[in-house]
Symmetry: C2
């Protein structure tokens, strides 16, 4: 069995060998650029780890795993354009470098390339794998649509928020785990369990992201602290804060949300309210619940406990991560 | 065997039954809107006609045929956004009605839905059909990239132009014909011939479009006459005009291309130059060559001549069309 970092090396090597140097360069250069920006490669990693529960080598599924990563990077490319974000992983975004039309078209080509790579599976699995991927890919679009709609709304409930992040983030992790399990030879029941394991992990992963935006170490986090607060993003923390606040605190929160001012002052004021309302603890408790649910799914998978150790510790790391 | 109009009825009926009323409505409403704008449905029609050469019923391949039409409409949606076009088939474009972000995201979802429908083929054909479709879909993106690059260039050669329209328009028609043939049970050789038949037909179809933009009957054409001239689109007519003009005529053409003026005056002046240079005849001769090539491929397909009659007359109609 491989460790996550060994698997990530294989993924990165495979990505560096992708033949994306075709013509027209105006279409393929941005694709190579995006794929080489790096990132944690969590989606292909989880697919390989699921496969690795059943099989010792992972060579055979590097192509579909990379397909999932191409899809994920396609969503980042189009999301950054929709958000007018200027930076991604410290580098200029594609629409900043090449313009909006290139960002649209190169993104479209990436979605097609994702299908090309994901389809490189044994013929007897192809239909199943495609169905799993297509379903998840469509749900990611639905999640992004909800995310954009929530920006224009005053209130979003916890249930609505978790539905949104399940669709936007968790289903793709879960789909990767399901695909890895099916290709590895796991049973349908195992594949369902691994899918659910991915859903709980993915939601927890996103909650952690919400937490890090406020309480992260700026040197490790890689993004500016308080970015979500500045743009009034309806994160788990804000939703819980609004839910738990008395009328005075609620007025204060809404005052800051409607205010245009020095971002540092706003971040400080809202963080102070979050602290008063203990939303950090509330979020950590929810993450712990999700972690327990995730692990309980994993335990039921019919593979020896030792083989599951890497996945168990990875999900712990993802939820504890400072990165 | 069915006539084209019987097949189009089946296609339109199948499209009207698509279950695109899911949530979030903000994602799916624009998709339903685009799919119901109408259009000639040529790509699914050709797929059904190819299948109909070998099989009497076409029910079984309505899903993949509709998949091809969803893909085509996705490209129109994103192309209209990239061109900032306000109208499509007389109606407001999606980005005009719902905004740019919706146009991006609903388009992405359509590309995924296209794969869902195209994948609904017998398991033993799935890999082949996906390869044919993915290859064509990627080439369409390449064609669109060339098209955008050509807009910024002073000169484009005839070969470059035909390559661009082959990628942007012809390969998808050809892919539909290849898929219909393979699913119908035709041989690989027949599938290749039908593909080439589609390439020649598709290029001819685009040249006809270029012609109609200048010489079409505005009441039948549905678009404004001279639109390509106004925006200096490097059509077959312009490329041939530049190629055939003496230094005086070339200067005159370039003068009009660089000029901002009343569109009617520009259209009249450029059309006059086109007439002097006989580019209409040159274009019609090229279309005739393409028609002959197309028909010669069709003749070699190992199906009785009578069964091929509908396709033969359709391609004639497409090239002669006033619409």
């Amino acid at each position: 069995m491989f460790t996550p970092s060994q698997l990530i090396d294989q993924i990165d090597k495979h990505i560096s060998l992708l033949p994306f140097d075709e013509t027209p360069a105006g279409l393929y250069d941005p694709i190579r650029y995006v794929m080489q920006l790096g990132g944690k490669r969590i989606r292909p990693l989880l697919m390989l780890m699921a496969y690795n529960l059943y099989q010792d080598s992972v060579e055979e599924i590097l192509d579909p795993a990379i397909g999932l990563e191409i899809y994920h990077n396609f969503t980042l490319l189009h999301d950054d354009l929709m958000d007018r974000a200027g930076k991604r992983r410290g580098k200029d975004t594609v629409h900043k470098v090449w313009g909006e039309n290139t960002a649209i078209l190169s993104g479209d080509a990436m979605l097609i390339l994702a299908y090309r790579y994901i389809s490189r599976v044994p013929a007897d699995h192809l239909k199943d794998i495609l169905d799993v991927f297509t379903c998840a890919a469509l749900e990611v679009c639905e999640g992004q649509q909800y995310d954009m709609e929530f920006e224009r709304r005053q209130e979003v409930s916890e249930v609505e928020y978790e539905t949104m992040i399940r669709l936007k983030t968790a289903v793709l992790l879960a789909a990767g785990l399901r695909i890895g399990t099916l290709l590895g030879g796991g049973s349908r029941k195992d594949a369902d369990l691994m899918y659910d394991f991915g859903i709980y992990t993915g939601i927890g992963f996103q909650l952690k992201d919400d937490l890090l935006d406020v309480y992260g170490n700026p040197e490790v986090f890689g993004k500016n602290i308080g970015g979500d607060i500045v743009c009034n993003k309806k994160t788990y923390l804000l939703i819980k804060a609004l839910e738990r606040s008395d009328s005075f605190q609620k007025e204060s929160l809404q005052h800051w949300m409607n205010k245009e001012c020095d971002p540092h002052i706003k971040i400080e004021a809202v963080t102070k309210l979050y602290n008063e309302l203990h939303v950090r603890q509330v979020c950590e408790e929810r993450m712990d619940e999700l972690y327990q649910e995730a692990v309980s799914c994993l335990e039921k998978v019919e593979v020896s406990s030792e083989r599951k150790e890497e996945l168990r510790s990875l999900v712990k790391q993802l939820m504890d991560r400072e990165l």
